[in-house]
């Protein structure tokens, strides 16, 4: 049996009058690649952002690698300690604009983990090589394509040695041509056995790379199972309608 690495229990979140999360429970085992699907407004991204407290939830508990933190926790040190067990890849990449590709990868190591510069550089070089961008190390984000920026941001997440990497629609801001290179990169990283939670609309990718698919709607988990169960044989009507539309867009 694999170990439980992440547990989200009874997470509630509201923005004003809008109840975005209505008691989400997810538990993730080490090495799982979880893809979260769902219509927009279903709370996928918010759920991801509550895990690392970018948007702290109003109620519930997050527990990663044996460390449990209540969502209302105000103690910044505790939150930061939990956060260090995660790394995030953003939809808009959010690379540090004033840093080159390699400096972006090094930044978290040198600033947060206090790794000596020379050592951080070696680690960063290896990570850039892993995402196939060794030759772009000295370029600034503005000089890279969207796909390259996203790969750098994956490398930046990898070097932090997180227990779980959170991907927030990593390919949604990309040109269709560039989606492939980023998905390949994510797939390669997934093979290394790191735990991942990916919010995406790429159904084909979910089918092939995910170990488990979660379908969310209305701020709750509606379906939770293997890619085949959820995507090909959804039990709930809501998931059936959504997947029908995505699989056969012309039918709309």
């Amino acid at each position: 049996m694999a170990d439980k690495i992440l547990e989200i229990s009874n997470v509630y979140k509201r923005f004003g009058d809008n109840n975005v999360l209505n008691g989400v429970n997810i538990s993730v085992e080490k090495g799982e690649v979880i893809v979260i699907l769902g219509p927009s407004g279903s709370g996928k991204t918010t759920m991801l952002r509550t895990i690392n407290f970018l948007d702290p939830a109003d109620a519930g508990e997050i527990s990663i690698d044996g460390m449990t933190v209540k969502c209302q926790e105000k103690n910044k040190k505790k939150v930061r300690a939990l956060r260090q067990k995660t790394a995030m890849v953003f939809q808009q990449y959010n690379l540090f604009r004033n840093r080159t590709a390699i400096e972006n990868v090094m930044e978290g190591l040198t600033v947060v983990k206090k790794v000596p510069k020379a050592e951080a550089k070696k680690i960063a070089e290896a990570a850039l090589a892993q995402v196939g961008l060794s030759d772009k190390a000295a370029l600034y984000p503005a000089q890279l394509s969207g796909g390259q920026q996203q790969r750098v941001s994956i490398a930046r997440a990898l070097v932090m040695k997180p227990e779980v990497i959170l991907f927030d629609e990593p390919t949604s801001a990309l040109d269709p041509e560039l989606v492939g290179e980023v998905l390949k990169c994510i797939r390669d990283v997934a093979k290394t056995g790191i735990t991942m939670i990916i919010v995406t609309h790429e159904i084909a990718f979910a089918k092939e790379a995910a170990t488990r698919v979660i379908f969310m709607d209305g701020g709750v988990v509606v379906e939770n199972g293997t890619p085949d169960e959820v995507i090909n044989h959804p039990k709930t009507e809501r998931a059936q309608v959504f997947l029908e539309r995505i699989n056969h867009p012309q039918a709309v």
């Binding site: 970018l54 995660t86 959010n94 540090f96 604009r97 004033n98 930044e107 000089q143």
Partner: protein, 262 residues
């Protein structure tokens, strides 16, 4: 009548007064920047009342002409200094009045709100994603500020800062009204002594322009160096290329007409 020899003779005394102008500009600019940082922090203070008070302060400082500041300061130097010296049980003699220091203070004070605005707009210009990325990677607030946000703010603020600097440079000419012998004051003195106003003022104008140009170029250089990461391909591109003929046209003109070549 334009006396050419008097025109050229005017240069030397005005050039000799340049250091005073530069001291006035640089020190008041640095002071204004420091004050601006503090004012910017106060204007974004979480406490609403403090924020409100300093927004009024900012508007007050902006609304007053520099010359008024200079006059108010110069007429109050003696009484302020006497009181200040009395605090330390010293007697103040008005034979070496710190006019220059007061002028610097007046200039700085009138530029503090502009510096604060510059800092605030630079802060607001930074995309939210930069803050979020730093936060998601467990940076503390101060780590995020010093490693990510402030370096980016600096780059955004450079063009604005350059503008304020050269405006201050020109504003220093007003200090001649409170007896400071910087470039303008010296030019006026020289002109009065020799009754060659147009010559001296023209020379003065040219020298101001020269100093302005030096700083303008300096700031452009800094802007280009510092901001190269903000634009794709900016490492080799210069802004004024926009105003040149597109390179493609040159190529097509140089290419021989294939029909003629045959």
């Amino acid at each position: 009548m334009f006396d050419q020899s008097m025109f050229f003779q005017s240069f030397l005394p005005i050039i000799r007064a340049m250091p005073t102008t530069l001291i006035l500009t640089v020190t008041s600019c640095v002071l204004a920047l420091l004050g601006g940082i503090i004012l910017a922090l106060l204007m974004t203070c979480p406490v609403k009342i403090i924020r409100g008070i300093f927004k009024v302060v900012s508007s007050f400082l902006k609304g007053i002409p520099i010359l008024v500041f200079l006059y108010v300061f110069s007429v109050s130097i003696d009484s302020v200094m006497t009181k200040l010296y009395a605090l330390f049980n010293l007697t103040y003699s008005n034979r070496n009045t710190p006019t220059l220091q007061f002028a610097i203070l007046a200039l700085a004070l009138s530029y503090i709100p502009y510096m604060a605005d510059m800092i605030l707009s630079a802060y607001r210009a930074i995309p939210n994603g930069q803050f979020e990325a730093a936060e998601a990677f467990s940076f503390t607030k101060s780590q995020a500020m010093f490693h990510i946000i402030i370096p980016q703010m600096t780059v955004i603020a450079v063009p604005n800062f350059g503008n304020h600097f050269v405006n201050l440079l020109k504003a220093t000419s007003l200090t001649c009204m409170v007896t400071i012998m910087e470039m303008m004051g010296t030019a006026r003195n020289f002109a009065t002594m020799n009754q060659t106003f147009l010559e001296a003022y023209t020379a003065c104008a040219l020298l101001y322009w020269l100093v302005f140009e030096i700083f303008e170029r300096l700031f452009q250089f800094i802007e280009k160096k510092a901001g190269r990461y903000l634009q794709p391909g900016a490492l080799t591109r210069r802004r004024f290329h926009l105003f040149r003929k597109p390179a493609r046209m040159h190529v097509s003109q140089k290419q021989p007409n294939p029909e003629q070549a045959l």
